[in-house]
């Protein structure tokens, strides 16, 4: 049976370093299996978040060979074996222990977004063509890999920017055919959409293959333009009395 060498970050808020483990490779094995093997046989206190192990809950996010990934969907046989496989915690968030990071900031940001507010007197008829767009956004499993890879948060530490995940959530609410709230001023100010320079790393890492940039962020940017940067549209709205 062949073996893989895993270089897993071990440490906490104070510091840490990579530690090497040797793990037997079985067919179809994923990185999370290797981490479980380490827990079960070598380091029972290795801290890892995981739940479903099937790419549905978004718990086991980490950086494998430098790439933000769900470890449960990263096949060992897709990684080069000539060097150790490195597994590090998400860089954008403070480490709690080993691969577990403090993602609580995301939950705070989420609270800023006003919930779904149905139109008064609706009969709740909705058609598939109206919700296809939104259903794409609702696939989000909140793995926070998009938040992790976004350079605005990762490198510039700009908490004024809510991050791709919350652009996706807001887009889902704004495009809901029966929603009546207006979150566009919020998107511009409190969620800071202007900080996004659409470099698309969020889309590249999304395990749910949500087209975050093209389908959520850019449409929201355009809606911000409608309300704030388009004098002609403003004029037309004034003249026609439209919203």
């Amino acid at each position: 049976m062949s073996e893989a060498v895993m270089q897993v970050f071990r440490g906490n808020r104070e510091g840490g370093s990579p530690v090497e483990f040797r793990v037997p490779i079985t067919p179809g094995m994923v990185v999370l299996d290797a981490l479980h093997h380490i827990q079960g046989h070598q380091a029972p206190d290795l801290a890892v978040r995981w739940n479903c192990k099937a790419g549905k809950c978004g718990s086991c996010s980490a950086e494998v060979n430098g790439r933000p990934r769900l470890t449960c969907k990263t096949r060992m046989d897709a990684l080069p074996t000539d060097q150790p496989i490195t597994v590090n915690p998400m860089k954008t968030f403070p480490v709690i222990k080993d691969l577990v990071t403090d993602v609580s900031w995301n939950y705070e940001v989420n609270k800023k977004i006003p919930a779904f507010k149905p139109k008064a007197g609706t009969d709740w008829k909705m058609y598939q063509e109206d919700i296809d767009r939104v259903q794409e956004f609702r696939k989000c499993i909140e793995c926070f890999l998009c938040q992790d890879v976004c350079h605005v948060l990762r490198d510039h530490d700009k908490k004024e920017f809510a991050g791709p995940r919350f652009m996706v959530r807001t887009a889902a609410l704004e495009m809901h055919p029966l929603d009546s709230a207006d979150r566009i001023p919020l998107v511009k100010k409190e969620l800071g959409i202007g900080y996004c320079n659409i470099t698309k790393c969020c889309t590249e890492v999304c395990p749910e293959e949500i087209h975050i940039t093209d389908n959520a962020i850019i449409p929201l940017k355009e809606r911000v333009v409608d309300e704030f940067y388009d004098p002609i549209a403003k004029l037309v709205r004034k003249i026609t009395g439209a919203k």
């Binding site: 933000p68 860089k91 968030f93 109206d130 890879v149 510039h156 530490d157 590249e204 940039t213 355009e222």
Partner: protein
Amino acid sequence: MAELQIVGQQGFGATKRRDSWWIEILPVFIVLNSFGAYATFRAFEGKFYEWGPYLSPFYSPLIDAGHTWWKFSPALLILAGPLGFRATCYYYRKAYYRAFFLDPPACAVNDRGGHNYKGETSFPFILQNLHRYFFYLALIFLAFLWYDAVLSFRWDGHFGIGLGSLIMTVNVILLSLYSFSCHSWRHLIGGKLDCFSCSKSTQVRHGGWKAVSALNEKHMLFAWLSLFSVGLTDLYIRLVSCGAITDIKIL
């Protein structure tokens, strides 16, 4: 957030990635620089932009070719339109923020960091919000370029086809695909609606939005193809015009 750097990836360009990430931005850097250099040279050159029924896209619409009131190259009068459309394009923004501003150089590769980053919230990049106006402008340019393409089949009042006619036609088709796959256009035609099924007009716009969405998925491809085609079309006409090569008359 990342107050504590303990994973050992500090400093500009640092990453744990194993692959040659710079491969992604190198071609962008080279092509955009080369195109920029060539286009600048051609814009200032002010000659070799016409031959027979052909007119270079860098010079269309052709304004004051006789230098009655504008003594510089006529290209300089119109350059801002197409340039502005591409400069504020959602795809090119990604490309040059990565390749030129290195912000970030690639995904999960450190950029220069620092808290002063303003993104597109302040001048000059806040002007990116005007992209839709450049789209409107691009439509006017497209009209001229289609007109030029049609004229390129008129040889002294008779129908004819030269290699240049075909090149100009392919170019304007690619430019059209690039323009009509624009993100702003996708928003304007229907993306801004929350309900597609609500009325006859929104249903029609939904159809439009779906078509533009399909094109939009290939926006990057059209951006590059049309960039090459516009440069090569100009180059062909220049070479024919200055006599370096002879146009092939097909019909």
